[in-house]
Symmetry: C2
Subunit: 505 residues, 2 copies
């Protein structure tokens, strides 16, 4: 049995079983913590077997749901499969699966959309109740039972510590050469026993290579062999390239004014088309010896590590295209020197983001003229994905930047609106807004000054006269002229979009 | 000249002058950083003389404005006097003066409402431009030019470091026995040079007793003799007592479940009637050996220090009634052992709030049924005071609690609404909502579960059927059922209150 090479703790050999057998061990109503962050490092066989089990139970007229906690989003085999069979009562802290989204928005699945840095500590605090079962993908099990993590760390340390029972998927596809890339910090404590986290540079290693795991808690080991859910890399479109261009001009300007060092400060970059365009722009740009302190290592950062523009990258997960994964695995020794994979309680920790002075660059759904940002909701009521780590980074960053195309839905939606339909980042937390139209630097501006800057720089021409008109009427009509608002119109653009399909009158 | 006792740096004796002379040294358009946090430790003679100077200039048809930066709110002699003569172009980071508020809301004064922990670093980063002049109240000047701080620290360290020119008010009213109570931490740096802040207990002293000051920058010294703006202590009303009662029951419950230690965790408490009621409740309650890590030391905490319930208090300012001040000054040696006054970049630091696991208790204007909180705006457009430190504490706290009476304006306003008219604390940052009606524990709840809990526990009976009706219709009509919202009604309660004076239909 080849999997024995990867399961060196002989006491655990008796726990090797099929995914179906393992799925039978998860009790109804359990709180289940699974590995996974973006498409990386999530179990697939056990959740899929659990979904099959749940489907059969429903066919027999029985109900079966679990609460599902993860690092962040996962793969279709978890979120898709379990949502499809309506097997999740409450999902936290983040998800981006289309079937999951449908369940949440039809009201058949509860969703707690949280700051990713809060998750581990709330579980330790007991705020969500007991964690019953952990289902964790690993690359291998060492003789003492400790675990070689796979391609994401996420909340795995916390799930392994906190769960009564542990199910491990040992994924042969994950190269054992990943060992040494992870840095699992075991210095966290509950208050009042917490101490400073001794990390001062993005490349610092402050923990251990392997995940600790009590072999007595392990109830099942399921060998698997599967790739991560790798999303195809899309070449940046023109709009994203323009956003990247505005941002790089801004960085040059800040360096010139002495407000940023020549090698900038550690970069945090969200996932997606715009983020990749910005990274591509930085890879062609004038800045050298960059660093990153972020959640995921994307293709764009891989390219920057290869070119030498990026000296090192700290993250909690890989999030690569199939080509990116191929490149990463092929040159894994090169990358191991430059990449540190950390628990998300560390990658997203306010203490560290603030200390390092991170430049936070996150996508948004919409912003309003006063600089409030909506990252999560469509028209105030329907979830898109979730806040993820954007709040951890924006609040504590040296520079907090939000980016979007100025329009969406073929121009029927403006990403700059009179009032956002849901607030995830308040006016107090947003410094720079960038669209394909331009960049608004909100630092040191009052709400009215912000409105003028955002309207002048960021709004699509189709919506600029409308927004200018709203602002001027608000300035005249509003009772308070600190944040001029016409209450009856503040959400009217969203209301119109919902009724007619377009924000345009 | 008696003031020489307090001005021991003989090189500076030549700088002693009148407030009028000192006020002449402040240039038009200057960025001026003044001391002051709540009513404590602000200069009064120089700002008042500056206001007089500005008034005369206006009478001569000349314009004169400054940008005014402080710790937080100040006294009428600063904010009131300078706002009255329309002498402030931009005010930051917080103010609560009625004349200042009027200026902001009529649109004649710009206001940047900021997290208090962000202020010092943004000035260091250069985000607000150069600080031209610092006007700082101190208790005395030592032979080497270093300064004995008075009753607040606020941003004084940063203003003294960053300003080109320094004006000092030496207040004889401030007892020299304050010396030793302050802890000025000089270990902050700009990224990428930041290191962990070595504070692990509320009582830790990590800095110096005195403020450093380069005597060469000092252009004026003005002796004064005046008390702080001390607000009269109001005995808690019944509604506040009920809020306190709910909260203390909740703490007992958490201790019983093992989710809080017996001596709780460091307390942060906002200012005001409800906060004082909670402190009075804690002083009569079962918890011993409490600590606090907060912005201001109020009468309530003084009583707790005296009774021994509170072991020590860390803050950045005193905020006492006249009787409280009397008690404090009389027994200053007793209090010096138990009170640490720190810069607000430390008292409000995310790193420390999170490390210590603070219990954050802040007042709010309103919350909505999904747990978003408005701390700053009336009907979306008019500023009340500002966010102050509430965001620093709420985001990073062990428990994030918001409190209000369930109704205001004799029942014409409900503090629980369909959607808040301005968001300062998002659904991701609010765990506990308490009104006189009861307490809603939002931890581990999805938006719809939160709505049910808030409506059931916190809403005044006059508004409960209305809110229940809104929620049920939203649940039915809303396109997305994650956060059910009727866009055309979400702000209708505020719109009605603005038009008719009441939220009631």
């Amino acid at each position: 049995m080849p999997e024995f090479d990867r399961i060196q703790c002989t006491a655990l050999h008796s726990k090797i079983m099929t995914a179906e057998q393992a799925a039978e061990l998860i009790p109804e109503g359990a709180n289940v913590g699974m590995s996974g962050f973006t498409g990386s490092g999530s179990p697939n066989a056990v959740p899929q077997a659990l979904a099959n089990r749940i489907e059969k139970l429903y066919e027999q007229g029985k109900s079966f749901k679990i609460d599902l906690w993860t690092g962040a989003s996962t793969a279709p085999e978890i979120d898709g499969a379990l949502a499809k069979v309506n097997g999740i009562h409450t999902r936290l802290p983040y998800q981006s699966d289309p079937i999951g989204r449908k369940r949440i928005n039809e009201g058949s699945m509860q969703y707690i959309d949280m700051h990713l840095s809060h998750v581990a500590q709330y579980v330790w605090f007991g705020f969500f109740g007991k964690l019953d079962v952990a289902v964790i993908e690993v690359a291998g099990i060492l003789p003492d039972g400790s675990l070689i993590p796979s391609t994401s760390v996420g909340n795995n340390k916390t799930w392994l510590d906190q769960a009564d029972l542990v199910i491990l998927e040992v994924n042969e596809y994950a190269p054992l050469a990943l060992a040494g890339m992870h840095d699992i910090y075991y210095g966290t404590q509950l208050p009042p026993h917490r101490v400073p986290i001794p990390l001062t540079k993005t490349s610092d290693r402050i923990g251990e290579q392997y995940l600790r795991c009590d072999p007595n808690k392990v109830i099942a080991i399921v060998p698997t062999n599967k790739s991560d859910r790798n999303s195809a890399f899309k070449a940046p479109d023109d709009s994203s390239k323009r956003i990247a261009g505005h941002l790089i001009e801004f960085f040059k300007h800040e360096v010139k004014l002495g407000r940023l060092p020549k090698d900038l400060l550690p970069l945090q970059s969200g996932v997606g088309n715009i983020a990749n365009a910005v990274l591509a722009g930085l890879n062609d740009g004038p800045f050298e010896n960059l660093t990153s302190f972020t959640e995921v290592l994307q293709d764009g950062m891989l390219a920057m590590l290869r070119s030498g523009k990026l000296a090192n990258a700290s993250c909690t997960a890989l999030s690569l295209s199939p080509e990116g994964e191929h490149e990463f695995m092929k040159n894994i020794d090169f990358y191991r020197d430059k990449v540190v994979l950390r628990p998300q309680e560390i990658s997203n920790h306010p203490e560290l983001i603030r200390r390092l002075g991170v430049i936070a660059m996150n996508a948004m759904i919409e912003a309003d003229i006063y600089g409030n940002v909506n990252s999560t909701h469509v028209n105030g009521s329907a979830i898109m994905n979730g806040i993820g780590g954007s709040g951890d980074f924006a609040r504590n960053a040296y520079l907090s930047i939000f980016m979007a195309n100025s329009i969406a839905k073929n121009g029927d939606v403006s990403c700059i609106v009179p009032s956002v339909s849901h607030v995830d980042h308040t006016e107090h937390d947003v410094q720079i807004i960038v669209t394909d139209q331009g960049l608004a630097d909100l630092r040191g501006l009052s709400p009215k000054e912000r409105a003028r800057s955002i309207i002048a720089n960021c709004v699509h021409p189709d919506y600029k006269p409308l927004l200018q008109d709203y602002y001027e009427r608000a300035l005249f009509q509003s009772v308070g002229k600190h944040t001029p608002t016409i209450l009856s119109e503040a959400l009217s653009w969203h209301d119109r979009a919902q009724r007619t399909g377009s924000m345009k009158p």
